[in-house]
Amino acid sequence: MVSKALLPVNGIDYLIIGAYLFITVFVGYSLKKYMKTGEDFFLSGRSLPTWITSLAFLSANLGALEIIGMAGNSAKYGIMTAHFYWIGAIPAMIFLGLFMMPFYYENRVKSVPEYLKLRYNNATHALNAVSFAIMTVLMSGISMYAMALLFKLMLGWSLTSSILLSASVVLVYIFWGGLSSSIYNEVIQFFLIWLGLLPVVLLGLKEVGGFQGFIERVPAEFLHSWKNLGSATQNPLGIEWVGVVLGLGFVLSFGYWTTDFLVVQRALASRSLNSARLTPIVASFPKMIIPILVIVPGLLVVALLPAFQPGAAGGAPDYNSAILLLMGRYLPNGILGLAVTALLASFMSGMAGNVTAFNTVWTYDIYGSYIAPGRSDQHYLTMGKAVTVVGVLFSILTAYIVQHFSNIMDYMQLVFSFFNAPLFATFLLGMFWKRATPAGGFWGLLSGILAAVAHYLLYKSGILPYSSDMGANFYQAWWAWLVDFVVTILVSLFTKRKSDQELKGLVYSLSSRSGRDASRRWFLRPEIWGSLSLLLVVILNVLFW
C-alpha cells in the first residue's frame, strides 16, 4: 500500500537503505557469541573504547525527531535554537565527566537509579526506577510512531509496514547483542547523519551565495543568540535570559545529561574510569557543531522560501518540514537514499537506546531488586533477553495507541517532564552533601514532582502568566528543582543520616578519588579536555552573540 510520496525515491535509494539494515543485523549477529554474562549484555562487558562510547553518548540524544524539530525551531527562532546545543548541553556534559561519573562508575552500579538505592533508600530508588522504565517504553513507542508518520510522508510507506520493519530489526539486533548492538548502531548513525545531511547544507549554502550571501539573506534578528534575550516580549522564544540560564542551562540540561540513564549508560560501558569520564567530555566537541546540520538548514529555508519569511502571507508554515523540503529540493536519487537512511538510522537507534535502557532498569532495578532478588547471573541474562521482546511489543502497542489518540503524545511528554525536572537536585545533594538523609531524598524528590504538577496547573489556569509555553516549561523545571533542593535539605536536618561507613565512595567528601589523581599522560586528562570544551563554547556564544 503506497500512497503519494514527497520524495521521489527509486531502486538505488532502496539499495542504500537495504545495505544499512543488513549491516545493523549483521553487527547484532556478530556480537551474539560474546554475550555470556549479564555484564556483557547490559554493560558491554565494560570494555568499549572512548571514541565509541563518546559518539554513542552523543547520538543517543540525536534522534530524528530532534533533528527535524530543531531545524523547525531554527526556522522559527533562528540561532537562539543553539542554546539547546551550547549552554543547554555542554556545561552539563563536562560536569558529568569531571564530577559525577566517578560515583556511577567506581561503585559499579549497573544503572543510574541503582545509585539512588545505595545512596538513599528503596523508596527513592523505586520511585525513580519505575517512572523511568515506563517512560522509556512509551518513548520508544512514540518515536516508532513518529518514524512511521515521517516515512509515510516521505516515501509513502504504510504506518504498519514502517512500525513492523523498524521494530523487528531493533528487536533482533538487541536480542543478539544487547547494549553493544545499540551502541554500535548509534556510532554508525553518527557517521550517516553527517554524511547524509551535510550535502543538503552545502548545496543550500551554494544557492544562497556562500557564507556572505547567507548572512545577507537571513533576517538580522535570526542571527543572534543572546542579543534579544533582554525581555520575554522582545523575542520569538517568549523568554528572557534568566529563564534560559536557570531553566534550560541549569536545571533541564543538568537533569537530562547527568541523570538520564539512556545517555549515562553509554559511559558505563567504557573500559576504565578515565575513559568513562572522558566519554561525555569528548562528546561535547561534536555536540557543539551539530548546529551546522540542524540550525543552518532551518535558516536556509528562511532565506530561500518566501513562505518561511517572517510576516509572510498565508499563516505559519509547517516549520518541521524544513529539512525534508531541502532534501527534496537538492538531492538527486542516490544521495537522497543516503539522507533517508540517515533519518531511518537515527529513528531506529533512538528506539534501540530506549529498549536497552528499559531492559537494564527492569532486570536489575525492578525485577532483581523487588521481585526476584538473589538469582544467578544467567537467570538475569535470560530475563534481559525476554524483557527485550516484551519491551518491543509494548512499544508497538504504544505506537498504535498514539496513532489513534495523537494528543496522548503531548500529555505523555508533559508527564515525563514532571518526573525529570527535580531529579538533578536529588543527585546533586546525594553526591556532594553527606548530611542528606534517605528520608530527605525521598520526600525531596516527591515534592519536586508535585511542585512541577502544581506549577503546570497554575500556568494552565492563567494564575502564572508566561509569554510562551517554552518559557513556562523552563521556569517549571527551575521551580521543581528548587523545591526538591529545599525540601531535601529541610527533611534531612530532622531525620537520621547514614553513617560515614555506609556512604563510603558515594559522597564526594567520603570517596578516595584515587583513580582521579593518578598520574596520567596529560592528553588523556578529562580536566584538560573539559576546560578546552568550555572555552570553545564560550567563544561560540560570543561569535554568535
Partner: protein, 72 residues
C-alpha cells in the same frame, strides 16, 4: 593499549568501513552512469560521484585502520 577492544568485542571499524565503502562504490557508479539531467537540482554538480568518492575514501581509511591493527 591498542588491540584491547578488538580481542573483546567486535571492532566496529570493520562493518562501518565496509558499509561506507559499499556506499561509495554504489554512489560513484551511479554518478558515472546516471543521466546528467538528474543533476539540475544540484546545480549540475554530480553529487553522487563526488560524495561517493568521499565515502569510499573514508570507508577505506576505516578498513585500513582495522587491518593494520590486526597484523600489528
Amino acid at each position: 593499549m591498542p588491540g584491547k577492544e578488538s580481542n573483546h568485542f567486535l571492532d566496529l571499524k570493520l562493518p562501518l568501513g565496509a558499509l561506507l565503502s559499499f556506499y561509495g562504490v554504489v554512489l560513484g557508479l551511479y554518478g558515472i552512469f546516471s543521466d546528467p539531467s538528474v543533476y539540475t537540482k544540484s546545480f549540475h554538480i554530480n553529487v553522487n560521484l563526488y560524495w561517493g568518492g568521499l565515502l569510499l575514501a573514508l570507508g577505506l581509511l576505516l578498513l585500513l585502520l582495522t587491518f593494520r591493527r590486526r597484523r600489528g
